[in-house]
Symmetry: C2
Subunit: 361 residues, 2 copies
């Protein structure tokens, strides 16, 4: 087992990465305050891991709530099912919520923990690659609004993150690829050696080599933890994590939540951001081609939906609702080179239009 | 105009108290970050003060949303109307929400501000005595769940609180009395000189003397600000503010939100807490009689609903869901004497039963 730390003063917490961590009561015990534990999971994960997870909380009073699976259920209405259970079962301020599932479960459980009685503890047990390398670390929680992703939420840090790499054995190929989009992102925005390492090791991850995958997770989480520790509330460099996300969120919302996986939107969205970076005279052709190549090897889409499905007006309209918008300007994460990203609202509007026009299948 | 300060480090903020503060753009300007301002109010307050309030934000891009009036609408569903407006109008992270109304509007607007894009600024403009002396100060925000009051929320401090005492001219007598319950509370829990002052000045407040009322508001807010500064997240002495609230919240929920006003529940609930304090051998008969007298002079109920409407089992069931419950124990705020309160979970259960049985009309 490997242990990383997210350093946030008195809200610091560990990330445990390894095999067979799920179901180990010794691991979780120091992080549970009172007897009351509520495991929040979904209809896909529950049959696979809920029983084992419950064994991991042996000795506690464990309840569970099973939500429908999918980004389209990440809303206030579904969140209320968690509150119904918490209040119906008389959970108090000392309780602990456990998020057992992917990013949707983690975000919703975290927000439920942030808001229940104005804040209770929670533990992240991410079971998808995407949530293991990204959403389970850093305390961003929330739900979607029909007009925008993650519009309603809170910064609320977990007590610990438990990444059992064996849960990836039951993850389907499409979900594994979606997770790789965020892994590749860390290389692109600030870790060139990691990008090179991924070019060498991507096939092993696709082939489900758990040791290689564990290293990819560890290096991703280390990148995330380092920047979150410096900028918890995203007043500065944390925004770099959103490479491809302003385009990607527009794809997700525009195509209807659930049609494109988050990682798929990020992959195509990142290539749009890179195409625009190249138009801005930043990244060179080699870096651009290497980026296409690695996303394609990860079996991810590099092109956004076609212009009929996502016309430019729809893109711009959805992007204008992005959380990074400041005083009407759509702020974008762009790349100077692989390993060096920056945030800017200072670009010619026609280059954004040109990107939307030209980087299409 | 009087100015108090809530000292919370870099989240400190002022409370302005005076006449004709609503509609003064100079007062609010330093507290609004970007151009975008959303005023949240209700169907009762909007016809009276929305236009004047908008004048106070001259020079900004002001939108408004008018919610239905009443505690029964303080829920996630109504909250979503605020999010619909914010997202529909493309409000960004720099925006400011303004709560124009009583405690329900303040709590909901504050929670919307806490959760929108994971946190934006807000300003409290309380228009009822209750919200002026209590709920607008201290950063507790939230909505109700059918099974419990304020179960879903956040600690989120406003940028400033603007108390225009002239708004009390349009407050009906029942609402004014309800606010006095919280004013009297400050005397009971920790400010004996204020309690004595209230005994002398209560009639002037009831007669709508705005100077006397302003002093009552100032002394109440000073009490609140002092304790909030010491214990923002209610890990200790802030819980004293809940005198009468565990009983009172049970009355509010049990009778159906809106049937009993919050202040009415607090008044009857406080007398239950004081009756139990006397059974515990704490406050003496004189203090008990003085407390009854002052609530009655404030035209507030001193007895809870009768046993048919609120049987003991219903009380205990609702109280067991209170936020102060720890490991199954209902914690209560009790009184040693007027001006000295304490929180305890250590009392004979039969004294609570005896209180519910005996302190009835």
């Amino acid at each position: 087992m490997k242990t990383l730390s997210v350093d946030l003063g008195d809200r610091s917490y560990p990330i445990f990465i390894g095999e067979d961590l799920l179901g180990n009561p010794e691991l979780v015990k120091p992080f549970v305050k009172s007897k009351q534990v509520l495991i929040v999971t979904n209809t896909t994960v529950a049959p696979l891991y809920l029983d084992t997870c419950k064994q991991g909380f042996a000795g506690f009073e464990v309840e569970s709530v099973i939500l429908p699976d999918g980004e389209e259920y990440k809303n206030l209405e579904t969140l209320n099912l968690v509150f119904d259970t918490l209040i119906g079962k008389r959970f108090d301020r000392g309780c602990t919520l456990v998020a057992l599932g992917g990013g949707v479960i983690g975000d919703m459980t975290g927000f439920a923990a942030a808001a229940f009685q104005r804040g209770v503890n929670f533990i992240q047990i991410p079971t998808t690659l995407l949530s293991q390398v990204d959403s389970s670390v850093g305390g961003k929680t929330g739900v979607n609004h029909p007009l925008g992703k993650n519009m309603i939420g809170a910064f609320h840090q977990p007590q610990c993150v438990i990444i059992d790499t064996k849960t990836l054995n039951t993850l389907d190929d499409r979900q594994l690829s979606a997770g790789l989009a965020e892994v590749i992102k860390y290389g692109l925005i600030g870790d060139y050696p990691f990008f090179e390492w991924l070019e060498e090791n991507l096939d092993a991850i696709i082939a489900r080599d758990l040791d290689v995958t564990a290293e990819a997770i560890e290096r991703s989480c280390a990148n995330k933890a380092r920047i979150v520790a410096l900028d918890e509330k995203e007043s500065g460099m944390r925004a770099l994590f959103n490479l491809g996300h302003t385009f990607g969120h527009a794809i997700e919302a525009g195509m209807g939540y659930g049609a494109w996986l988050h990682g798929e939107g990020v992959s195509a969205g990142t290539m749009q951001a890179l195409y625009m970076s190249r138009l801005m005279g930043n990244i060179n052709d080699t870096d651009f081609e290497r980026s296409i190549a690695i996303f394609e090897r990860a079996k991810l889409p590099v092109y956004p939906p076609n212009v009929t499905e996502m016309p430019n007006e729809k893109y711009l309209d959805l992007m204008a609702g992005d959380k990074k918008v400041q005083a009407g300007t759509i702020r974008l994460v762009l790349l100077k080179s692989i390993g060096e990203a920056y945030v800017t609202g200072d670009y010619p509007a026609e280059l954004l239009e040109q990107t939307l026009n030209e980087w299409r299948k």
